[in-house]
Structures are given as structure tokens and as C-alpha cells.
């Protein structure tokens, strides 16, 4: 190796190092939110007497604080039904975010179904897809009772068998091989047991 070659490589190496010293922190700065999980929020939505096992009641909760109205979302809450294998003391909170493209679904009590106005997605009483383009059942929120009030916690998704998994965005399948094709993200909360 000649002296000239050594200096060429050294100068190029130093230049690359200086470039990396600027670019890498900046890229990390922009990518960091992919690995950060927000604070776990629990929103009280009403006393336990407000909810029964026969039908849903719509509640509004703040999912993302600090951005005004757009941080709010709607959920449908009811008491657990023993016949469906649920804890009768527990509460079920179904997200209104359609699993197809994210439009807000509405619970139609006459039909006992959730219906999406955008592309005709239909879900049954438990939120399972029974028609239209959605790829999985409706998402849910974790629930708990504190001081006689029902509180809603982090969002989670479910498989077609209603097994809880980490929250997915609309349009992503869940369960089986889909758990690898749409991997869980570090920004989401672990599903309840």
C-alpha cells in the first residue's frame, strides 16, 4: 500500500465517519417512535349500572391526548354474557373502528349487528365479521372496574376465534400465518390474558 493510498482511504474514512455522525442520529431521531410505547391510559366511561348484558351502550373516550377532538374515539360497552363464555362480572368494550378501512361502525340493535356505512362491512353481536370486506373481527378495549366505574384501557385486536392479540391497524389480518405477515409492533400493548 502506497502512502498516497493510505491517505486517500484515511480521508475518505474520516469523511464517512463525519457524515455518519450527522445522518445516523437524525435517522434514529425520526425512527425512534417505532420503538416507543405510549403511557397506558385508563378512561372511566360510567358507573357499572349504566351497562347491561343485553345490548351495547356507546361511550366516548380519549385515545390520544393533546390533539383535541380527533384524539377521541367511540366504543360500545356491555356486560359479559356467561352463555358466550364471558365473565358475567366483566365488561366487553368493542371499538367502532372498522377492521376494513377504519370507518366508524354503528351497532344496530334491531339486527343485533355492527354495520359499517362505508363499504358494507357487517359484524355480529360479538364483533365477528359476518359480511363485507373486513379482514378480522372488530378491535376491543381492555376493561376493568375501579370504584364502581367501568374503565377502558389499551386497544387490542382479536383473531377470528376471538383470541386476543396485539392491536393491529385496519386492513391487517390476524391469527395463524398472518401473525408473521402482519407482525405485532413494539408501539402496541400486550393483549390481556
Amino acid at each position: 500500500m502506497t502512502r498516497r493510498r493510505v491517505f486517500t482511504v484515511a480521508v475518505q474514512g474520516l469523511g464517512g465517519l463525519a457524515g455518519a455522525a450527522v445522518v445516523l442520529p437524525v435517522v434514529g431521531f425520526a425512527v425512534a417512535p417505532l420503538f416507543e410505547r405510549g403511557e397506558e391510559r385508563w378512561s372511566p366511561v360510567g358507573p357499572t349500572d349504566d351497562f347491561n348484558a343485553e345490548t351495547y351502550r356507546a361511550v366516548v373516550l380519549t385515545e390520544t391526548p393533546g390533539i383535541g377532538e380527533v384524539g377521541k374515539t367511540t366504543a360500545y360497552v356491555r356486560q359479559g354474557v356467561e352463555k358466550l363464555g364471558e365473565d358475567p362480572q366483566g365488561y366487553i368494550a368493542i371499538s367502532t373502528r372498522c377492521a376494513h378501512a377504519g370507518c366508524p361502525v354503528r351497532f344496530v340493535s334491531a339486527a343485533g349487528n355492527f354495520i359499517c356505512p362505508c363499504h358494507g362491512g357487517v359484524y355480529d353481536f360479538e364483533g365477528r365479521r359476518i359480511g363485507g370486506p373486513p379482514v378480522r373481527p372488530l378491535d376491543r378495549f381492555q376493561t376493568r372496574v375501579r370504584g364502581g366505574r367501568v374503565e377502558l384501557g389499551p386497544r387490542y385486536s382479536v383473531t377470528s376465534q376471538l383470541e386476543p392479540v396485539r392491536a393491529r391497524d385496519p386492513g391487517e389480518f390476524t391469527g395463524g400465518i398472518w401473525e408473521y405477515l402482519y407482525p405485532p409492533r413494539p408501539t402496541t400493548f400486550p393483549p390481556p390474558e
Partner: protein
Amino acid sequence: MKLPIPAALRRPAKPGEGEGGNGPAPANLKDAPPRPAEGPGAAETAKEAGIDVVGWVDQRTGASGFLTGILYRKVPKGTNWFYTLGSATLFAFTIQAITGVFLAMYYTPSPTEAYGSITHLTNDVFLGEFVRGMHKWGASVMIILIFLHMARTFFFGAYKYPRELNWVIGVVLLILTLVMGLTGYLLPFDQRSFWATIVASNITASGPVVGPYLADFLRAGPDFSATTLARFYALHMLLIPGAIIALIGAHLYLVVKLGTTAPPWLRAEKPKPATPVVEVTAGTDGGGDGARGR
């Protein structure tokens, strides 16, 4: 063809070249300077001043050679109005850049204030609606022009060797312009732009394996948040325009370097042989073989 370049811009002759040669010294070295009374009048001096400034800059930068090279380059026969679509797109981008800079003076990229700042600049600021309108409608115009320009390039076969790289750069520019449309759509922060962005990030997330992470990158988190708007704003007015400007530079460099193509309906001219073809026929006067032997 001799180009009409003002005297001040012409490159001075090298020593020993030009009119003088080794002959008598140039006139301006020989003659005594004119007396003030005989010199050019004030009006004439003022007229010359502009050219003198241009000449001064040009002597130090050589810009005139560069500019005449670009502006007076040869174009093929049959060049027509379709060839202006690229320049029109560049003009549309320039309008977006200029109006965008001035819109940024009134816009606040915060979820609670963005909509208010937009209504303020539209309704209260002098000519605000006009400047915003230029930016809004200009965005659609630019996308339409890009597709027309692309169609011209495609149907004229102008993407073929040696211009493939310029086609590739153009496609990247198209994608970046569409990303500009996507990120700009959120900024007014009304119901339509909010939900359009939700749908866009959901579509991004539905791509397998990398989709969910890409969506998280776009939103800066698992859900739409305060950071999302700031992120879209930074992409829209800093990162992507920078990339577009750099790529437009490369695009234009290749256009000037490679030249444009003639329209396909023009037949290529047969290359003229370097020397005239001489018809050699065997004569009856015995000139053929007999002449060589002589």
C-alpha cells in the same frame, strides 16, 4: 450561426490571436484616452453600465458560455408544442415552491391551531385565498402536467437509449410529487384531510411485513397523534421538496447533455457518405483493365 452576444460578453482574444496577430498593438492600447468633453454622454454611460456589470460577473464566472450552451442548444427537426410539457411541469413546481414558502408564513402545524391558521390566512389575510388557491389548484395542475409529460415521453419513444436513466429519475420525481400530494392533503386539518390521512396510513399498514412499521413511521406512533401533523409538515415542506429540486437538477442536466429526440413520425435522414460515390462502369473503349496495365 453567429450568436448575438454583446461585445462585453465576448471572450477576449488570446494574445497572438484575433485581428492583431503579431501586427500592430490593439487600438485600445495605442490611443490616448478620450478627454471628458469628448467621451460618451451620461445617457450612453448609463446604458453601458448594465452590460458592464454583466461582463464583470461573466469574466469571473464564465456563466455566458454555460448559459449559451443551454439556451442555444440544438433541437431536432419537428420539435413542437408537446416538448414544452416538461418546462410547464417545472413552472408548476416553481409556483408550488413560491406560494408554499409564503403560505408557511401564516401556517401553524399544530393539531389544535392548524385549522384556525388556515381559515385565518384564507379569510383575513390580504390575497390569502388567492395564494392558497394557487397552491391548492397548482398541485393538481402539476400532477396532470407530469402525466402529460410522461405520456409525451412514452409515445415519442424518448425513454429509449441513451435516456433510460432520465425516465427512471422522472418516475422517482412522479412518486415524490404524489407523496407531496399525500402529505400536503393533511395540512388544512379539516375532517376530510384528517380522514383521508387515516385511510392512507391504514392502506400503508396493510402492506405485508413492512407495512405496519411504515405506518408507524408515518404517524410517529401506533395512532394519529400531535407528532403526525408536524412530521407531515416537515416532509411536505423540507425533505421532499429538497429531494425534488435535486432530482430536477439531475433530470435537466441529462436533458441538456443528451438532447431531445425527434418526433417518431419524422423519418431519420439517411447518413450522407463521406465521399461522393463514383459510378465505375466497364467502358467499351478498353479503358478498364487495359488502362491499369499501361
